[in-house]
Symmetry: C2
Subunit: 137 residues, 2 copies
C-alpha cells in the first residue's frame, strides 16, 4: 500500500516527542499472510529507565465515506492486534488520526462507542503543526 | 453504496431455502449515523412454529487486495453488530461470501482465526448454482 498522506506529519510529531522510528514499515508474518504495519517507534522512559516500544498505524480518512473508511480502519486495527497476539509480540498498537478526523468522529456517538467497545487506542495529531494533541487509551 | 455483484445470487439462494426478504436494505439509525445493512430475511421455523429473522451482509471480495477487503468486511461486521446492540435489535448478522472466497480464506489460517476470534457468522453460497453451501456460526 502507498504511504498515507499524513504519514510524515505523524512521524515528525512522534519524533518531536522523543520517539525514534525502529521499523517503517514493520512487517509481521503470521498464519499465511504478511502485514505491513506503518511504524514501530520506541522511546526511553526516564521514570522506569526502559525503552517503551509501540506500533502506530496511520489513517488519513480523506476518502468520500467516513463510515466506510472507519469500517476498514477498525477491521485493520483488530486484525493487526490479533496478528501480534498470535506471534506473541507484546506491543501496543495505536491508530494515528488527525485532529480534524477526531473531531468528525466526536460528532457521532457511534464512532466513539465502537472505538471504546473494541479497545482502540488512538494518537491524535495536529497535522499542520506536527504535534501530538492527545493519546487516548 | 451500490449493490454487491453477488447480491442477487445470495438473495436467490436464501429464497430457495425458504427465507423471505423483509428489508432490502435494512436501515439502522444509531448514534448519529445511518447504516444500510444489505438484507433482513425471515423464515418460519417448523420445529418451534416461530419466525426466525436474521440480517445478511453480502461481500464479493472481488477487489485486488483480499486482505484489505477482509479488514473492511470485518470492521463493518463488528460495527453493524455493535449498532444492533445499541438499538436493542436482537437479530443475528451473517456475512455472506461466495464459496470461492471462503476457499481463499481457508488457505490462510489468519483469516479463519480472526473470524473465529471475533465471532463472525458466515453463510457460504455457491454463486453459480445459487445454493447455500454452509452456515458457519
Amino acid at each position: 500500500m502507498a504511504k498515507d498522506t499524513i504519514h510524515d506529519a505523524v512521524k515528525n510529531a512522534l519524533e518531536k516527542e522523543g520517539w525514534s522510528v525502529t521499523d517503517e514499515p514493520m512487517m509481521v508474518r503470521t498464519g499465511g499472510v504478511a502485514l505491513d504495519m506503518d511504524l514501530a517507534v520506541e522511546k526511553l522512559m526516564q521514570a522506569v529507565k526502559e525503552n517503551e516500544r509501540i506500533i502506530v498505524e496511520i489513517k488519513s480518512f480523506k476518502g468520500p465515506s467516513l463510515i466506510y473508511e472507519f469500517h476498514a480502519a477498525l477491521g485493520q486495527y483488530i486484525n493487526y492486534r490479533g496478528a501480534l497476539s498470535d506471534e506473541s509480540i507484546q506491543l501496543e498498537i495505536f491508530l494515528a488520526v488527525s485532529a480534524g478526523t477526531f473531531r468528525k468522529f466526536s460528532r457521532s456517538e457511534f464512532y466513539l462507542r465502537r472505538m471504546k467497545e473494541n479497545n482502540v487506542k488512538l494518537v491524535v495529531v495536529n497535522i499542520i503543526e506536527e504535534i501530538i494533541v492527545e493519546w487516548i487509551k
